[in-house]
Symmetry: C2
Subunit: 339 residues, 2 copies
């Protein structure tokens, strides 16, 4: 119940957060097929497979050598649920602050942090971006070691549950997208995450959850410091100017971390538009994909009127560039494996 | 001849650059063995193989799961020659400046750049670090696109030759180290470069030269900018505060780019000491390696008295930490494949 209140408060906090609800009905097309894309509608499956077969056929004019088969995926709203609050990582930040404040009550002398812990987001709202940075620095970049942070996320992921489905967050990954990751890897694509979420946060669960190793996970990141304490080398996560892996930051991060232009890109919001464009600029025949959240029953329905995962201009460009728009209500036979 | 003069000038420029010459004789132990580490002495080969066999044996207490088999290699002086000047990339910078100044003579109005092109390094010396940054920004981060820079490096790599061996720089890679990269990969290690050199510079040749893809190449890097020009998405390399992937920067970069503590690390200078320490801090039984440049005939001999590839404190710590010190004169049956 408390989480629902927190969720609602965050939504209130975000002035432009008005979710568009799309009428939905339960999906009846659960027929299993023999391919690896079993949870996709026939039409969407066929479109993906046609492209993959073409670009992996060495006799095709559109053949892509294995070394250049780079596939990038956004995470929040593309591989797992990002609703109903700012992101799963935001919930982690709040939960982590509660834990930290038990051993360090002085943290709650700060009105912003005290408010967050008590479900009162007004001080955070008033503080704006510096308030958000304070929350992130206190819970993520507070001189803890990389191991301590990793352990904290791993522990949280096994216990914290979402408010709508009462599931752990690693259960809220999209089954069809996991199938797609596996299908692309089976066709010798390298799969990368390129997300606005924190790299260290994602790395704590993504290897087990998606089969994507840490060095193929690109996200926002803060500063870090190397030191030796009692003869043991450690990396500390420290506060400082963060790199934000969103919007135009995504192609920059791809350049910095991957060093190749992707040939496949999947996203779900305008924050992914730049990396979709960048992918379309590949010298190869590329594939762009946008997940359109159209299923208010099995997940959430939102696009242009939502602050979280705002999708508007990318949808317009999708038509021009022929990116595949996945209608989650109709194209996903299943959304989550537990459904 | 001009290059020799440039080389000597740079050496003069670096106040502490006094190379220690170690007496050498030609190496006679060219006997080929049947293993993949054919160019290594029996003792060094055995030491490497013993560790690899132990940590890849699933019944061993020191078994390392495949997902955690991260091997990191310095580049300059560890995978290829870094002598006789600051680095191969420095020579590229000078050559590139000469090319750029043909179409843009105004560049040479700057006394530092004019000096560099004419082999007069006094202005650069006087300017210090800002002078070096001016050279790097002019030749690397001058608003060119990632593709333009990549093409320039690739072209240069096929034509420029070093002064001692009259070979292209990609021929100056160490054969035993290439064998080691292949041997580790055959045992399911992921091989990464973690070098002070520019990431974009290395990525232009390292995939072909070492079999290491761009996303496993970590180096120093500058700022980049995403934009659309005439409908085409591009990344521009722009000037700004660079990240220097050296010394304590190396473990920080490993944290940022790899997200796992390596279990194998090879370097050749004090600049690699921090990442060797970091590797030794692994929860697994790790392997540290230092190349000691002891062969003035077949390559170069230098260590504590050299500015380039200065090796002093890491050699002391190697004894404490039991890192393997490779005596290149005696442990490398061949240094380059052309020898």
């Amino acid at each position: 119940m408390k989480k629902i209140i927190i969720g609602l408060s965050i939504i209130t906090l975000l002035a432009s957060c008005k979710k568009e609800t799309i009428t939905n009905s339960s999906d009846s097309s659960e027929t299993k097929t023999s391919t690896n894309l079993a949870s996709w509608s026939d039409a969407s499956k066929s479109r993906i497979e046609t492209w993959v077969k073409e670009v992996t056929d060495s006799t095709s004019a559109n053949f892509i050598p294995v070394a250049d088969r780079i596939a990038v995926f956004d995470n929040d709203g593309t591989l797992w649920t990002e609703q109903p609050v700012l992101s799963t990582q935001f919930i982690f930040a709040i939960d982590n602050l509660k834990t930290l404040s038990k051993s360090n009550p002085d943290l709650l002398k700060d009105p912003v942090l005290k408010g967050v812990v008590n479900g009162d987001f007004e001080p955070l709202k008033k503080a704006g971006i510096p308030g958000i940075l304070k929350l992130i620095n206190t819970t993520h970049n507070n001189n803890q070691t990389e191991t301590e942070f990793d352990d904290a996320v791993k522990k949280w992921m096994t216990t914290a549950k979402d408010t709508k489905f009462n599931k752990t967050y690693s259960e809220l990954i999209y089954l069809p997208m996991v199938e797609l990751l596996n299908y692309l890897r089976a066709n010798q694509f390298k799969t990368f995450i390129v997300s606005g979420g924190g790299a260290d946060f994602m790395r704590a669960f993504a290897e087990e959850t998606y089969g994507i190793p840490p060095y193929q996970i690109i996200g926002s990141y803060g500063e870090a410091k190397y030191e030796i304490v009692d003869g043991k080398p450690i990396i500390r996560k420290i506060s400082g100017a963060p790199f934000i892996d969103d919007k135009e930051g995504k192609p920059v991060a791809i350049h910095r971390f991957i060093g190749k232009v992707p040939v496949f890109c999947a996203g779900n919001s305008d924050g992914d538009q730049a990396m979709l464009q960048y992918t379309s600029g590949s010298k190869y025949k590329s594939f762009g994909m946008i997940l359109h959240h159209t299923d208010s029953i099995r997940e959430y329905a939102y696009d242009s009127k939502s602050y979280i995962g705002h999708l508007e201009s990318a949808l317009v460009e999708a038509k021009e560039k022929n990116w595949m728009v996945v209608d989650m209500k109709n194209d996903f036979k299943k959304i989550f494996s537990f459904q």
